[in-house]
Amino acid sequence: MDSTLFVPIWISVKTAVLATIITFFLGIYAAVFVIRSKKYQGFWDGIFTLPMVLPPTVVGFFLLLLLGKNSYAGKFFALFDYNFIFSWEATVVSAVVVSFPLMYRTARGAFEQLDNNIIYAARILGISEWKIFWRVMLPNSFYGIMAGVVLAFTRALGEFGATIMVAGNIPGKTQTISTAIYTAVQAGDYELAYKWVSVVVAISFAVILLLNCWISKQGKNSAYLTKKAG
């Protein structure tokens, strides 16, 4: 078997996993931030949702502006002899930016569906805000958060537009499955493209299926999530 077949798969998976972990925390933090901010709520929501509705190339363009060689960040990186553009880190950052809105929106929806009274009750009982978040809010919005994780992961795995602009398409370094498929099709190598396409479909579908299974099993095991009849 050709080992170059697996390199883009490995790059894609490690990019998507790392991006999902970062997005998980950022998205939840943004959700709590927007729910708690009374002023400018719509403004912040708009900013956080923008990467989802903008063309990925526009997102890539902004990332180039912000982190490219001529940007402040780029000049700062240059001090350490580091170039962000066309690095593997750039694939992660692109994946984080495009998957972030999915995590943010699903987490926010899940938190907003919580019964406010249980949060008030915890406050009146003297529980700190930090503990309320980890022990009350998060466990009771488990489904929503998990849905957000799945959506963010699959989106990160399939990221193409911003990645190719910021990270390029360097085989063995920044070439993910998505960009590899693009290259293969451009070169007319449909056999190779088929292989990668089936890998992407298989991974994405498997992740969704696994999570669905896990959630329904959890639901059966933990009685608090089951609704009582009548």
Partner: protein, 346 residues
């Protein structure tokens, strides 16, 4: 001792409550949307008033002038929510012990309240596996396990069917009997409030219209709002007065004013539906026409026209044991003592 003096804009009206309670059990009685739950939430700190001051046992919880606004965590109040607000992801024992985590006395206190509220055997059940009564007892245990300076109840019984309601009311009565700190109980149910509390504050559209002991309130409600909330079905404005008699405009009949009431101050009369009697041996006697008879479980609800000039009908409730049959269209003699008529000033 709790002192409340706050204002808060609530949509169409302004909530303006000023009252103070000591160790007695006080109820805030009012129709829905009058601001009674909002008052509790402001005391607990989950809502912030626009201005004013809240003091609990010499601790200032809120003072708009001094810019003091303690977070709910520091207020040391107990609060029972209408839906109990149990943590769905925690068992009964975890719910009760959540606020005591890290304290050495946790297990003892949790066990004590599990026993006190007869939750034995349910320690490891989740809220969704409990009946309504068990949920309420868990919420009570969670609230009482913390040594708070006041306990507050936000309509804990109003969403329940009458059988369960009675059962849970007995539970509350037990708790109230053994609690020596102030209790604030919000409800729109006069019967519940009368059975559970001693002092009653009546709130109408954000304003306190009365604050008195329950017996005083039910015998002498003074205002129309108070009278309606005590369950009086018949209220009429007075359109002329003189010689110790006031004429009720809606019913076209007069009522004799008893000694000690100044007739010039009487603006309305109120008559409780069940205080009217069949017979002529009373100070106020009317020859009324029966418009309609509705059969209730133990009573007749009789719609009467007290006089031919009456603009509105009068609701009379009489036991089926007292009168076996009532014929629509016929006349009946009814009457009552003036002491039982409510003469209202506003």
């Amino acid at each position: 001792m709790l002192d409340v003096d706050i204002t808060k804009k609530l949509g169409e009206f302004e909530l303006r409550t000023k009252f103070s309670i000591t160790d007695e059990k006080t109820a805030i009685l009012g129709a829905s949307g009058c601001g009674k739950s909002m008052t509790l939430k402001c005391i607990a700190g989950i809502e912030t008033p626009d201005a004013g001051r809240i003091v609990l046992n010499d601790r200032v919880l809120y003072d708009s002038n001094k810019k003091i606004n303690l977070p709910p965590q520091k207020r040391r109040v107990g609060y029972l929510f209408q839906n109990y607000a149990l943590f769905p992801n925690m068992t009964v024992a975890q719910n009760i012990g959540f606020a005591l985590e890290g304290k050495p006395e946790k297990n003892n206190v949790v066990n004590e309240f599990i026993n006190k509220l007869r939750l034995n055997g349910l320690e490891n059940k989740y809220p969704s596996q409990l009946s309504g009564g068990q949920q309420q007892r868990t919420a009570l245990a969670r609230m009482l396990a913390l040594d708070t300076e006041i306990i507050m109840f936000d309509e804990p019984l109003s969403a329940l069917d009458s059988f369960l309601k009675w059962e849970l009311e007995q539970e509350l009565l037990d708790i109230f009997g053994g609690f020596d700190r102030p209790i604030l109980y919000v409800s729109h149910d006069r019967g519940e409030v009368f059975r559970l509390c001693d002092q009653i504050v009546i709130l109408d559209k954000g304003e306190i219209v009365s604050n008195s002991t329950k017996h005083n309130l039910f015998e002498n409600p003074k205002s129309v709002t108070g009278t309606i909330l005590t369950g009086c079905k018949n209220i009429s404005p007075v359109f002329c007065r003189g010689n110790g008699i006031v004429i009720a405009e809606d019913w076209g009949v007069g009522f004799k004013i008893p000694q000690g009431i100044d007739e010039d101050t009487v603006r309305f009369v109120g008559v409780h539906a069940h205080l009217m009697r069949n017979g002529a041996e009373y100070e106020n006697v009317f020859n009324a026409q029966i418009i309609n008879v509705i059969e209730d479980v133990f009573n007749w609800i009789v719609v009467l026209k007290l006089s031919p000039q009456a603009k509105k009908t009068f609701r009379w409730v009489v036991s089926k044991k007292e009168i076996a049959r009532l014929q629509t269209g016929t006349n009946i003699t009814v009457g009552m003592a003036s002491e039982q008529v409510l003469f209202l000033e506003s």
